[in-house]
Protein backbone atom coordinates (compact mmCIF):
# COMPACT_ATOMS: atom_id res chain seq x y z
CA UNK A 1 0.00 0.00 0.00
CA UNK A 2 1.10 3.51 -0.76
CA UNK A 3 1.95 5.60 2.24
CA UNK A 4 2.52 9.35 2.55
CA UNK A 5 3.38 11.21 -0.62
CA UNK A 6 6.03 8.79 -1.81
CA UNK A 7 3.42 7.18 -4.04
CA UNK A 8 3.35 10.38 -6.11
CA UNK A 9 7.09 10.83 -6.57
CA UNK A 10 8.33 10.56 -10.11
CA UNK A 11 11.25 11.39 -12.38
CA UNK A 12 10.70 13.70 -15.26
CA UNK A 13 13.54 13.73 -17.77
CA UNK A 14 16.22 14.21 -15.12
CA UNK A 15 14.11 16.29 -12.75
CA UNK A 16 13.01 14.69 -9.47
CA UNK A 17 9.41 15.54 -8.59
CA UNK A 18 7.78 14.83 -5.26
CA UNK A 19 4.50 14.70 -7.13
CA UNK A 20 3.58 15.05 -10.79
CA UNK A 21 1.44 18.17 -10.44
CA UNK A 22 3.11 21.37 -11.64
CA UNK A 23 1.85 24.91 -12.02
CA UNK A 24 1.65 25.93 -15.68
CA UNK A 25 3.45 28.89 -17.14
CA UNK A 26 1.64 32.21 -17.05
CA UNK A 27 -0.97 31.23 -14.49
CA UNK A 28 0.83 32.06 -11.25
CA UNK A 29 3.26 34.73 -12.49
CA UNK A 30 6.41 34.47 -10.35
CA UNK A 31 4.68 33.10 -7.24
CA UNK A 32 4.64 36.33 -5.24
CA UNK A 33 0.86 36.69 -4.97
CA UNK A 34 -0.13 33.03 -5.13
CA UNK A 35 2.27 32.02 -2.36
CA UNK A 36 -0.08 33.87 -0.01
CA UNK A 37 -2.70 31.26 -0.88
CA UNK A 38 -0.88 28.00 -1.39
CA UNK A 39 2.09 26.39 0.30
CA UNK A 40 4.09 26.09 -2.89
CA UNK A 41 6.33 23.50 -1.28
CA UNK A 42 3.38 21.16 -1.78
CA UNK A 43 3.37 21.30 -5.58
CA UNK A 44 5.48 19.15 -7.87
CA UNK A 45 7.16 22.07 -9.59
CA UNK A 46 6.77 25.57 -10.95
CA UNK A 47 7.00 26.64 -14.58
CA UNK A 48 7.43 30.42 -14.55
CA UNK A 49 5.67 32.93 -16.70
CA UNK A 50 7.63 33.25 -19.93
CA UNK A 51 10.70 35.46 -19.82
CA UNK A 52 11.99 37.33 -22.85
CA UNK A 53 15.33 39.06 -23.36
CA UNK A 54 13.86 42.56 -23.14
CA UNK A 55 10.92 43.54 -20.92
CA UNK A 56 7.55 43.35 -22.66
CA UNK A 57 4.53 45.51 -21.80
CA UNK A 58 2.04 43.00 -23.19
CA UNK A 59 -0.93 43.45 -25.49
CA UNK A 60 -3.58 46.18 -25.44
CA UNK A 61 -6.69 45.34 -23.41
CA UNK A 62 -9.12 43.69 -23.26
CA UNK A 63 -6.85 40.69 -22.83
CA UNK A 64 -9.40 38.14 -21.68
CA UNK A 65 -12.70 36.81 -22.92
CA UNK A 66 -14.64 33.97 -21.37
CA UNK A 67 -16.24 31.36 -23.58
CA UNK A 68 -18.27 28.29 -22.56
CA UNK A 69 -15.99 26.34 -20.17
CA UNK A 70 -13.02 28.15 -21.62
CA UNK A 71 -10.89 31.25 -21.38
CA UNK A 72 -9.42 33.16 -24.29
CA UNK A 73 -6.34 35.19 -23.47
CA UNK A 74 -4.10 37.54 -25.35
CA UNK A 75 -1.80 38.74 -22.59
CA UNK A 76 1.17 39.05 -24.93
CA UNK A 77 4.00 37.80 -22.69
CA UNK A 78 4.04 40.78 -20.34
CA UNK A 79 7.24 40.24 -18.34
CA UNK A 80 10.15 42.17 -16.81
CA UNK A 81 12.78 40.73 -19.18
CA UNK A 82 15.63 38.42 -18.21
CA UNK A 83 17.57 40.99 -16.18
CA UNK A 84 14.52 41.98 -14.18
CA UNK A 85 13.67 38.32 -13.67
CA UNK A 86 17.12 37.40 -12.39
CA UNK A 87 17.24 40.41 -10.11
CA UNK A 88 13.74 40.59 -8.65
CA UNK A 89 11.81 37.40 -9.44
CA UNK A 90 14.13 34.40 -9.33
CA UNK A 91 15.40 34.99 -5.76
CA UNK A 92 11.83 34.84 -4.48
CA UNK A 93 11.10 31.65 -6.46
CA UNK A 94 14.19 29.99 -5.03
CA UNK A 95 12.67 30.14 -1.55
CA UNK A 96 10.56 27.17 -2.49
CA UNK A 97 11.99 23.68 -2.27
CA UNK A 98 10.52 22.56 -5.57
CA UNK A 99 12.00 22.45 -9.06
CA UNK A 100 11.80 25.83 -10.80
CA UNK A 101 11.51 25.50 -14.56
CA UNK A 102 11.98 28.82 -16.34
CA UNK A 103 9.92 29.40 -19.46
CA UNK A 104 11.67 31.44 -22.13
CA UNK A 105 10.80 32.93 -25.50
CA UNK A 106 12.98 34.78 -27.97
CA UNK A 107 12.32 36.66 -31.14
CA UNK A 108 14.85 34.48 -32.93
CA UNK A 109 17.13 31.54 -32.28
CA UNK A 110 19.94 33.73 -30.98
CA UNK A 111 17.71 35.19 -28.30
CA UNK A 112 16.67 31.75 -27.07
CA UNK A 113 20.32 30.73 -26.88
CA UNK A 114 21.25 33.88 -25.00
CA UNK A 115 18.39 33.37 -22.54
CA UNK A 116 19.49 29.78 -21.97
CA UNK A 117 23.05 30.96 -21.29
CA UNK A 118 21.90 33.54 -18.75
CA UNK A 119 19.78 30.93 -16.98
CA UNK A 120 22.51 28.32 -16.62
CA UNK A 121 22.74 28.88 -12.88
CA UNK A 122 22.21 27.46 -9.45
CA UNK A 123 18.59 26.78 -8.58
CA UNK A 124 17.15 26.63 -12.08
CA UNK A 125 15.92 23.06 -12.53
CA UNK A 126 15.15 23.28 -16.22
CA UNK A 127 14.12 25.45 -19.14
CA UNK A 128 10.86 25.39 -21.01
CA UNK A 129 11.09 26.66 -24.56
CA UNK A 130 7.90 28.52 -25.31
CA UNK A 131 7.82 28.19 -29.08
CA UNK A 132 4.05 28.16 -29.20
CA UNK A 133 2.71 31.43 -27.79
CA UNK A 134 -0.24 32.49 -29.93
CA UNK A 135 -0.18 36.10 -28.75
CA UNK A 136 2.97 37.62 -30.15
CA UNK A 137 3.88 38.79 -33.62
CA UNK A 138 5.59 36.02 -35.57
CA UNK A 139 7.87 35.87 -38.53
CA UNK A 140 5.92 34.80 -41.60
CA UNK A 141 2.85 34.43 -39.42
CA UNK A 142 3.90 31.11 -37.95
CA UNK A 143 4.99 29.90 -34.56
CA UNK A 144 8.24 27.95 -34.42
CA UNK A 145 6.32 24.94 -33.15
CA UNK A 146 4.20 24.93 -36.30
CA UNK A 147 7.20 23.85 -38.31
CA UNK A 148 9.19 20.62 -37.86
CA UNK A 149 12.46 22.01 -39.16
CA UNK A 150 12.24 25.23 -37.15
CA UNK A 151 11.41 23.23 -34.02
CA UNK A 152 14.38 20.95 -34.60
CA UNK A 153 16.79 23.75 -35.35
CA UNK A 154 15.81 25.87 -32.36
CA UNK A 155 15.79 22.99 -29.90
CA UNK A 156 19.18 21.87 -31.22
CA UNK A 157 20.69 25.32 -30.80
CA UNK A 158 19.53 25.64 -27.20
CA UNK A 159 20.52 22.03 -26.47
CA UNK A 160 24.10 22.87 -27.45
CA UNK A 161 24.08 25.84 -25.10
CA UNK A 162 22.69 24.34 -21.92
CA UNK A 163 23.10 21.27 -19.80
CA UNK A 164 19.81 21.95 -18.02
CA UNK A 165 16.87 19.65 -18.66
CA UNK A 166 15.07 21.05 -21.67
CA UNK A 167 11.29 21.14 -21.95
CA UNK A 168 9.79 22.04 -25.31
CA UNK A 169 6.25 23.39 -25.24
CA UNK A 170 4.28 22.54 -28.33
CA UNK A 171 1.34 24.18 -30.02
CA UNK A 172 -1.85 22.26 -30.73
CA UNK A 173 -2.43 24.44 -33.78
CA UNK A 174 -0.81 21.99 -36.19
CA UNK A 175 -1.84 19.17 -38.46
CA UNK A 176 0.44 16.50 -37.06
CA UNK A 177 1.64 17.22 -33.56
CA UNK A 178 3.49 13.90 -33.32
CA UNK A 179 5.79 14.95 -36.15
CA UNK A 180 6.69 18.16 -34.33
CA UNK A 181 7.16 16.21 -31.09
CA UNK A 182 9.57 13.84 -32.81
CA UNK A 183 11.57 16.78 -34.20
CA UNK A 184 11.98 18.17 -30.70
CA UNK A 185 12.99 14.76 -29.36
CA UNK A 186 15.55 14.20 -32.09
CA UNK A 187 17.01 17.64 -31.46
CA UNK A 188 17.67 16.77 -27.83
CA UNK A 189 14.59 17.81 -25.85
CA UNK A 190 14.32 16.00 -22.52
CA UNK A 191 10.64 16.66 -21.92
CA UNK A 192 7.62 17.85 -23.91
CA UNK A 193 4.90 20.17 -22.63
CA UNK A 194 1.59 19.42 -24.33
CA UNK A 195 0.08 21.86 -25.09
CA UNK A 196 -0.01 25.62 -25.34
CA UNK A 197 -3.39 27.25 -26.02
CA UNK A 198 -5.61 26.76 -29.06
CA UNK A 199 -6.00 29.77 -31.35
CA UNK A 200 -9.46 31.18 -30.93
CA UNK A 201 -11.67 34.21 -31.16
CA UNK A 202 -14.80 35.71 -29.61
CA UNK A 203 -16.97 38.51 -30.94
CA UNK A 204 -19.11 41.11 -29.17
CA UNK A 205 -22.18 41.25 -31.42
CA UNK A 206 -23.50 44.46 -29.85
CA UNK A 207 -20.38 46.38 -30.77
CA UNK A 208 -19.58 44.14 -33.75
CA UNK A 209 -16.01 43.97 -32.57
CA UNK A 210 -13.66 41.23 -31.42
CA UNK A 211 -13.79 40.76 -27.66
CA UNK A 212 -9.99 40.71 -27.45
CA UNK A 213 -7.86 43.77 -28.07
CA UNK A 214 -5.50 41.55 -30.03
CA UNK A 215 -8.46 40.09 -32.01
CA UNK A 216 -7.18 36.51 -31.74
CA UNK A 217 -6.10 34.75 -28.59
CA UNK A 218 -5.37 31.38 -27.05
CA UNK A 219 -8.08 29.15 -25.60
CA UNK A 220 -7.54 27.27 -22.36
CA UNK A 221 -9.70 25.63 -19.72
CA UNK A 222 -11.98 22.58 -19.58
CA UNK A 223 -13.23 23.27 -23.12
CA UNK A 224 -9.91 22.05 -24.56
CA UNK A 225 -9.31 19.03 -22.34
CA UNK A 226 -10.56 16.33 -24.76
CA UNK A 227 -8.52 17.86 -27.57
CA UNK A 228 -5.34 17.82 -25.51
CA UNK A 229 -5.92 14.31 -24.21
CA UNK A 230 -5.99 13.09 -27.78
CA UNK A 231 -2.70 14.87 -28.48
CA UNK A 232 -1.03 13.44 -25.38
CA UNK A 233 -2.31 9.96 -26.15
CA UNK A 234 -0.96 10.01 -29.69
CA UNK A 235 2.36 11.72 -28.98
CA UNK A 236 3.09 9.40 -26.03
CA UNK A 237 3.09 6.49 -28.45
CA UNK A 238 5.52 8.21 -30.80
CA UNK A 239 8.21 9.53 -28.47
CA UNK A 240 10.31 8.09 -25.65
CA UNK A 241 10.77 11.33 -23.69
CA UNK A 242 8.26 12.19 -20.96
CA UNK A 243 5.29 14.47 -21.43
CA UNK A 244 3.81 17.13 -19.17
CA UNK A 245 0.12 17.23 -20.04
CA UNK A 246 -1.95 20.37 -19.57
CA UNK A 247 -5.30 21.69 -20.68
CA UNK A 248 -8.36 22.22 -18.52
CA UNK A 249 -7.24 20.28 -15.47
CA UNK A 250 -9.62 21.37 -12.70
CA UNK A 251 -9.87 18.24 -10.52
CA UNK A 252 -7.73 15.21 -9.73
CA UNK A 253 -9.81 13.07 -12.07
CA UNK A 254 -8.72 15.27 -14.98
CA UNK A 255 -5.07 14.86 -13.95
CA UNK A 256 -5.50 11.11 -13.83
CA UNK A 257 -6.95 11.06 -17.33
CA UNK A 258 -3.78 12.73 -18.60
CA UNK A 259 -1.55 10.22 -16.82
CA UNK A 260 -3.58 7.31 -18.20
CA UNK A 261 -3.27 8.83 -21.67
CA UNK A 262 0.53 8.76 -21.31
CA UNK A 263 1.63 11.91 -19.52
CA UNK A 264 4.36 11.60 -16.87
CA UNK A 265 3.28 14.80 -15.15
CA UNK A 266 0.56 17.39 -15.49
CA UNK A 267 0.40 21.14 -15.19
CA UNK A 268 -2.52 23.05 -13.73
CA UNK A 269 -3.15 26.37 -15.44
CA UNK A 270 -6.47 28.10 -15.82
CA UNK A 271 -7.73 26.51 -12.59
CA UNK A 272 -5.20 28.61 -10.63
CA UNK A 273 -7.04 31.71 -11.74
CA UNK A 274 -10.31 30.46 -10.30
CA UNK A 275 -9.02 29.07 -7.03
CA UNK A 276 -5.32 28.87 -6.18
CA UNK A 277 -6.12 26.01 -3.80
CA UNK A 278 -7.39 23.64 -6.49
CA UNK A 279 -3.85 22.40 -7.11
CA UNK A 280 -3.60 21.10 -3.55
CA UNK A 281 -6.96 19.34 -3.91
CA UNK A 282 -5.67 17.71 -7.09
CA UNK A 283 -2.54 16.40 -5.34
CA UNK A 284 -4.58 15.14 -2.39
CA UNK A 285 -7.10 13.54 -4.73
CA UNK A 286 -4.44 11.63 -6.65
CA UNK A 287 -2.88 10.41 -3.42
CA UNK A 288 -6.26 9.28 -2.11
CA UNK A 289 -6.97 7.43 -5.33
CA UNK A 290 -3.65 5.55 -5.25
CA UNK A 291 -4.21 4.57 -1.64
CA UNK A 292 -7.75 3.42 -2.30
CA UNK A 293 -6.64 1.38 -5.31
CA UNK A 294 -3.59 -0.01 -3.54
CA UNK A 295 -1.23 1.31 -6.22
CA UNK A 296 2.36 1.81 -5.02
CA UNK A 297 3.37 4.63 -7.34
CA UNK A 298 1.65 6.85 -9.85
CA UNK A 299 4.08 5.74 -12.55
CA UNK A 300 2.25 2.41 -12.65
CA UNK A 301 -0.72 4.23 -14.15
CA UNK A 302 1.19 6.04 -16.89
CA UNK A 303 -0.20 5.12 -20.30
CA UNK A 304 -2.21 2.62 -18.31
CA UNK A 305 -5.35 2.36 -20.38
CA UNK A 306 -6.91 -1.11 -20.22
CA UNK A 307 -6.94 -3.01 -23.49
Amino acid sequence: MAKGEGCLSTRLGGIELKNPVLLASGTFAYAEEISQWVDLNRVGGLITKTITLKPRAGNPPPRLAETPCGLLNAIGLENPGIEGFLKSKLPFLLRFKVPIIVSIAGEDKQEYVELARKLQREGVAGLELNISCPNIARKEGRMISQDEKATYSLTRAVRRETSLPLVVKLSPNVGDISAIAKSAEEAGADILSLVNTFLGMAIDIDRRKPKLGNVIGGLSGPAIKPLVLRAVYEVAQEVKIPIIGMGGIMRWQDALEFILAGASAVAVGTANLINPLYVVEIIEGLKGYLQKEGIGNIEELRAGLEE
Binding site: G26, T27, F28, A29, E33, I34, Q36, W37, D39, A57, G58, P60, P61, P62, R63, L64, A65, E66, P68, C69, G70, L71, N73, I75, E78, G221, P222, G248, M250, T270, N272, L273, I274, N275, P276, L277
Partner: protein, 274 residues
Protein backbone atom coordinates in the same frame (compact mmCIF):
# COMPACT_ATOMS: atom_id res chain seq x y z
CA UNK B 1 -1.07 32.44 3.83
CA UNK B 2 -3.08 35.64 4.35
CA UNK B 3 -4.80 35.02 1.01
CA UNK B 4 -6.74 32.16 2.52
CA UNK B 5 -8.37 34.55 4.98
CA UNK B 6 -10.01 36.11 1.97
CA UNK B 7 -11.77 32.92 0.94
CA UNK B 8 -15.33 32.68 2.24
CA UNK B 9 -18.58 30.82 1.90
CA UNK B 10 -21.23 33.51 1.92
CA UNK B 11 -24.90 32.87 2.68
CA UNK B 12 -27.52 34.72 0.65
CA UNK B 13 -29.69 36.73 3.04
CA UNK B 14 -31.91 38.14 0.30
CA UNK B 15 -31.85 38.65 -3.44
CA UNK B 16 -34.33 41.11 -4.90
CA UNK B 17 -34.98 42.69 -8.26
CA UNK B 18 -34.60 46.45 -7.99
CA UNK B 19 -35.58 47.32 -11.55
CA UNK B 20 -35.87 45.34 -14.79
CA UNK B 21 -32.51 43.62 -15.31
CA UNK B 22 -31.01 44.70 -11.98
CA UNK B 23 -30.89 42.95 -8.65
CA UNK B 24 -29.54 43.58 -5.19
CA UNK B 25 -28.11 40.72 -3.20
CA UNK B 26 -27.52 40.81 0.52
CA UNK B 27 -24.86 38.41 1.75
CA UNK B 28 -23.95 37.37 5.26
CA UNK B 29 -20.24 38.20 5.24
CA UNK B 30 -19.07 39.41 8.64
CA UNK B 31 -15.36 39.41 7.86
CA UNK B 32 -15.84 41.34 4.63
CA UNK B 33 -18.26 43.74 6.31
CA UNK B 34 -15.61 44.48 8.87
CA UNK B 35 -12.61 44.90 6.60
CA UNK B 36 -13.86 46.27 3.26
CA UNK B 37 -13.59 49.92 2.35
CA UNK B 38 -15.25 51.76 -0.54
CA UNK B 39 -14.16 50.77 -4.04
CA UNK B 40 -13.06 47.26 -3.13
CA UNK B 41 -14.75 44.28 -4.73
CA UNK B 42 -15.70 40.70 -4.02
CA UNK B 43 -15.17 37.90 -6.51
CA UNK B 44 -17.97 35.35 -6.62
CA UNK B 45 -17.87 31.80 -7.93
CA UNK B 46 -21.26 31.53 -9.59
CA UNK B 47 -21.42 27.74 -9.72
CA UNK B 48 -19.13 24.98 -8.61
CA UNK B 49 -18.95 23.69 -12.19
CA UNK B 50 -16.89 24.91 -15.10
CA UNK B 51 -19.69 27.01 -16.53
CA UNK B 52 -19.43 29.89 -16.04
CA UNK B 53 -15.72 29.31 -15.66
CA UNK B 54 -14.37 32.49 -14.09
CA UNK B 55 -15.60 34.32 -11.03
CA UNK B 56 -17.69 37.47 -11.32
CA UNK B 57 -16.55 40.69 -9.67
CA UNK B 58 -18.85 43.07 -7.80
CA UNK B 59 -18.08 46.26 -5.94
CA UNK B 60 -19.21 46.30 -2.36
CA UNK B 61 -22.38 48.40 -2.61
CA UNK B 62 -23.30 48.78 1.04
CA UNK B 63 -22.15 47.40 4.35
CA UNK B 64 -24.22 46.75 7.43
CA UNK B 65 -21.47 46.14 9.91
CA UNK B 66 -23.77 45.52 12.88
CA UNK B 67 -25.50 42.67 11.03
CA UNK B 68 -22.35 41.36 9.38
CA UNK B 69 -23.94 41.85 5.97
CA UNK B 70 -22.82 43.32 2.68
CA UNK B 71 -24.83 44.23 -0.40
CA UNK B 72 -23.97 44.00 -4.05
CA UNK B 73 -25.88 45.67 -6.87
CA UNK B 74 -25.81 43.73 -10.12
CA UNK B 75 -26.89 44.12 -13.70
CA UNK B 76 -27.85 40.98 -15.60
CA UNK B 77 -25.33 40.91 -18.44
CA UNK B 78 -24.79 37.27 -19.34
CA UNK B 79 -25.07 33.73 -18.07
CA UNK B 80 -23.10 34.35 -14.88
CA UNK B 81 -25.16 37.28 -13.65
CA UNK B 82 -28.38 35.57 -14.77
CA UNK B 83 -27.56 32.56 -12.58
CA UNK B 84 -26.64 34.84 -9.69
CA UNK B 85 -29.96 36.69 -10.01
CA UNK B 86 -31.71 33.37 -9.33
CA UNK B 87 -29.89 32.59 -6.08
CA UNK B 88 -32.31 32.19 -3.21
CA UNK B 89 -32.13 33.06 0.45
CA UNK B 90 -30.04 30.50 2.32
CA UNK B 91 -27.91 29.41 -0.67
CA UNK B 92 -24.15 29.62 -0.27
CA UNK B 93 -21.76 31.27 -2.69
CA UNK B 94 -17.99 30.91 -2.59
CA UNK B 95 -16.28 34.27 -2.61
CA UNK B 96 -12.86 35.87 -2.46
CA UNK B 97 -12.60 39.32 -0.96
CA UNK B 98 -12.40 42.08 -0.23
CA UNK B 99 -9.97 42.61 -3.10
CA UNK B 100 -8.30 45.53 -4.80
CA UNK B 101 -7.34 49.07 -3.94
CA UNK B 102 -10.45 51.17 -3.50
CA UNK B 103 -10.93 54.87 -2.88
CA UNK B 104 -7.99 54.91 -0.46
CA UNK B 105 -8.18 58.65 -0.13
CA UNK B 106 -11.80 58.70 1.05
CA UNK B 107 -10.79 59.33 4.63
CA UNK B 108 -8.75 62.44 3.84
CA UNK B 109 -10.00 65.15 6.14
CA UNK B 110 -9.21 67.95 3.69
CA UNK B 111 -11.56 66.55 1.04
CA UNK B 112 -14.62 68.33 2.35
CA UNK B 113 -16.50 69.22 -0.79
CA UNK B 114 -17.05 66.13 -2.84
CA UNK B 115 -18.74 65.28 -6.11
CA UNK B 116 -19.80 61.66 -6.70
CA UNK B 117 -20.41 60.80 -10.35
CA UNK B 118 -21.89 57.42 -11.16
CA UNK B 119 -22.98 55.84 -14.44
CA UNK B 120 -25.38 52.91 -14.69
CA UNK B 121 -24.70 50.04 -12.33
CA UNK B 122 -21.25 51.56 -11.81
CA UNK B 123 -22.88 53.74 -9.15
CA UNK B 124 -22.78 50.77 -6.73
CA UNK B 125 -19.52 51.52 -4.83
CA UNK B 126 -20.34 55.22 -4.50
CA UNK B 127 -23.20 54.45 -2.10
CA UNK B 128 -20.72 52.71 0.21
CA UNK B 129 -18.40 55.70 -0.17
CA UNK B 130 -21.26 58.10 0.51
CA UNK B 131 -22.11 56.23 3.72
CA UNK B 132 -18.52 56.32 4.93
CA UNK B 133 -18.06 60.06 4.47
CA UNK B 134 -21.49 60.96 5.81
CA UNK B 135 -20.78 62.06 9.32
CA UNK B 136 -17.72 64.06 8.57
CA UNK B 137 -17.88 67.60 9.90
CA UNK B 138 -18.51 70.29 7.33
CA UNK B 139 -18.87 67.76 4.51
CA UNK B 140 -20.62 68.89 1.36
CA UNK B 141 -21.59 66.20 -1.15
CA UNK B 142 -23.12 66.51 -4.61
CA UNK B 143 -24.24 63.31 -6.35
CA UNK B 144 -24.60 63.14 -10.13
CA UNK B 145 -26.20 60.01 -11.55
CA UNK B 146 -26.21 59.11 -15.21
CA UNK B 147 -27.93 56.36 -17.16
CA UNK B 148 -29.19 55.54 -20.63
CA UNK B 149 -32.83 55.62 -19.56
CA UNK B 150 -35.11 55.85 -16.53
CA UNK B 151 -35.05 52.11 -15.68
CA UNK B 152 -31.29 52.24 -15.31
CA UNK B 153 -31.17 55.16 -12.89
CA UNK B 154 -30.12 53.55 -9.65
CA UNK B 155 -29.62 54.51 -6.01
CA UNK B 156 -31.25 57.96 -6.08
CA UNK B 157 -33.09 57.27 -2.84
CA UNK B 158 -30.01 55.81 -1.14
CA UNK B 159 -28.19 59.11 -1.60
CA UNK B 160 -31.20 61.22 -0.70
CA UNK B 161 -31.56 59.25 2.53
CA UNK B 162 -27.98 60.19 3.31
CA UNK B 163 -29.04 63.81 2.95
CA UNK B 164 -27.11 64.50 -0.26
CA UNK B 165 -28.19 66.62 -3.17
CA UNK B 166 -28.82 64.35 -6.18
CA UNK B 167 -29.12 65.24 -9.84
CA UNK B 168 -29.94 62.82 -12.61
CA UNK B 169 -29.14 62.81 -16.32
CA UNK B 170 -30.45 60.30 -18.83
CA UNK B 171 -29.40 59.93 -22.44
CA UNK B 172 -33.02 59.70 -23.62
CA UNK B 173 -34.35 62.32 -21.22
CA UNK B 174 -36.78 59.92 -19.54
CA UNK B 175 -35.62 61.04 -16.10
CA UNK B 176 -33.85 64.20 -14.98
CA UNK B 177 -31.96 66.17 -17.60
CA UNK B 178 -31.49 64.88 -21.13
CA UNK B 179 -27.72 64.95 -21.04
CA UNK B 180 -24.64 62.97 -20.26
CA UNK B 181 -23.76 62.94 -16.59
CA UNK B 182 -20.33 64.33 -17.47
CA UNK B 183 -22.09 67.37 -18.94
CA UNK B 184 -23.80 67.91 -15.59
CA UNK B 185 -20.42 67.77 -13.92
CA UNK B 186 -18.98 70.31 -16.36
CA UNK B 187 -21.87 72.71 -15.70
CA UNK B 188 -21.55 72.43 -11.95
CA UNK B 189 -17.84 73.05 -12.00
CA UNK B 190 -18.23 75.97 -14.43
CA UNK B 191 -20.89 77.60 -12.26
CA UNK B 192 -19.27 76.90 -8.94
CA UNK B 193 -17.24 79.48 -7.15
CA UNK B 194 -13.49 78.98 -7.09
CA UNK B 195 -12.54 75.90 -5.07
CA UNK B 196 -16.15 75.03 -4.32
CA UNK B 197 -15.20 71.35 -4.63
CA UNK B 198 -11.94 69.59 -3.98
CA UNK B 199 -12.42 66.06 -5.24
CA UNK B 200 -14.46 64.02 -7.71
CA UNK B 201 -15.06 60.31 -7.14
CA UNK B 202 -16.46 58.45 -10.09
CA UNK B 203 -17.49 54.97 -11.13
CA UNK B 204 -19.07 53.76 -14.35
CA UNK B 205 -18.26 52.93 -17.96
CA UNK B 206 -14.82 53.91 -19.28
CA UNK B 207 -16.00 56.57 -21.77
CA UNK B 208 -17.82 58.33 -18.94
CA UNK B 209 -14.80 58.11 -16.65
CA UNK B 210 -12.62 59.52 -19.40
CA UNK B 211 -14.83 62.62 -19.59
CA UNK B 212 -15.02 62.94 -15.82
CA UNK B 213 -11.23 62.78 -15.53
CA UNK B 214 -10.77 65.30 -18.33
CA UNK B 215 -13.30 67.80 -16.93
CA UNK B 216 -11.96 67.45 -13.39
CA UNK B 217 -8.46 68.03 -14.72
CA UNK B 218 -9.55 71.23 -16.45
CA UNK B 219 -10.64 72.59 -13.08
CA UNK B 220 -7.54 71.23 -11.38
CA UNK B 221 -9.60 68.98 -9.19
CA UNK B 222 -8.38 65.63 -7.94
CA UNK B 223 -10.38 62.80 -9.48
CA UNK B 224 -10.49 59.14 -8.62
CA UNK B 225 -12.12 56.67 -10.96
CA UNK B 226 -13.26 53.11 -10.31
CA UNK B 227 -12.84 51.20 -13.55
CA UNK B 228 -14.25 47.96 -14.84
CA UNK B 229 -12.31 45.42 -16.88
CA UNK B 230 -12.72 41.73 -17.64
CA UNK B 231 -10.71 39.96 -14.95
CA UNK B 232 -9.07 36.58 -14.66
CA UNK B 233 -7.65 35.69 -11.28
CA UNK B 234 -8.64 38.83 -9.35
CA UNK B 235 -5.47 38.67 -7.24
CA UNK B 236 -2.90 40.16 -9.56
CA UNK B 237 -1.41 37.03 -11.08
CA UNK B 238 -2.60 36.66 -14.65
CA UNK B 239 -2.25 40.19 -16.02
CA UNK B 240 -5.56 39.72 -17.83
CA UNK B 241 -7.25 42.87 -16.54
CA UNK B 242 -4.60 45.29 -17.74
CA UNK B 243 -5.43 48.96 -18.23
CA UNK B 244 -3.19 51.47 -19.97
CA UNK B 245 -1.54 54.00 -17.67
CA UNK B 246 0.75 56.93 -18.22
CA UNK B 247 3.18 58.17 -15.58
CA UNK B 248 4.24 61.71 -14.76
CA UNK B 249 7.16 61.47 -17.17
CA UNK B 250 4.75 60.49 -19.94
CA UNK B 251 5.83 56.85 -20.05
CA UNK B 252 3.08 54.42 -21.04
CA UNK B 253 2.51 51.03 -19.51
CA UNK B 254 -0.12 48.78 -18.02
CA UNK B 255 -1.44 48.26 -14.53
CA UNK B 256 -3.69 45.57 -13.11
CA UNK B 257 -7.27 46.62 -12.45
CA UNK B 258 -7.71 43.84 -9.87
CA UNK B 259 -4.67 44.60 -7.73
CA UNK B 260 -3.35 48.07 -8.57
CA UNK B 261 -6.97 49.25 -8.90
CA UNK B 262 -9.89 49.16 -9.51
CA UNK B 263 -9.61 52.78 -8.33
CA UNK B 264 -7.02 54.95 -10.05
CA UNK B 265 -6.30 58.65 -10.13
CA UNK B 266 -8.01 60.10 -13.17
CA UNK B 267 -4.73 61.46 -14.48
CA UNK B 268 -2.99 58.14 -14.17
CA UNK B 269 -5.01 56.34 -16.85
CA UNK B 270 -3.97 56.47 -20.48
CA UNK B 271 -7.33 57.44 -21.97
CA UNK B 272 -6.07 57.51 -25.56
CA UNK B 273 -7.66 54.21 -26.51
CA UNK B 274 -10.90 54.57 -24.56
Amino acid sequence: MEGRNLLHKLRVVSNLRVSPGYFKMVLFAPRIAQSAYPGQFIYLLVENTCFPLLRRAFSVHRVREEKGEIEILCKIRGEGTKLLSRKREGEEIEAIGPLGRGFECFSREDYQAVVLVGGGVGIAPLVFLGERIKNRKGMKVLVLIGAKRREEVLCVKDFQDLGYKVEVATEDGSQGRKALVSELLAEHLANAEVCAYNVVYSSGPLPMLKEVARISGEYRLSSYVCVEQKMGCGIGVCRGCAIGVIDKQGRRGYKRVCRDGPVFEGGEIDWTYV
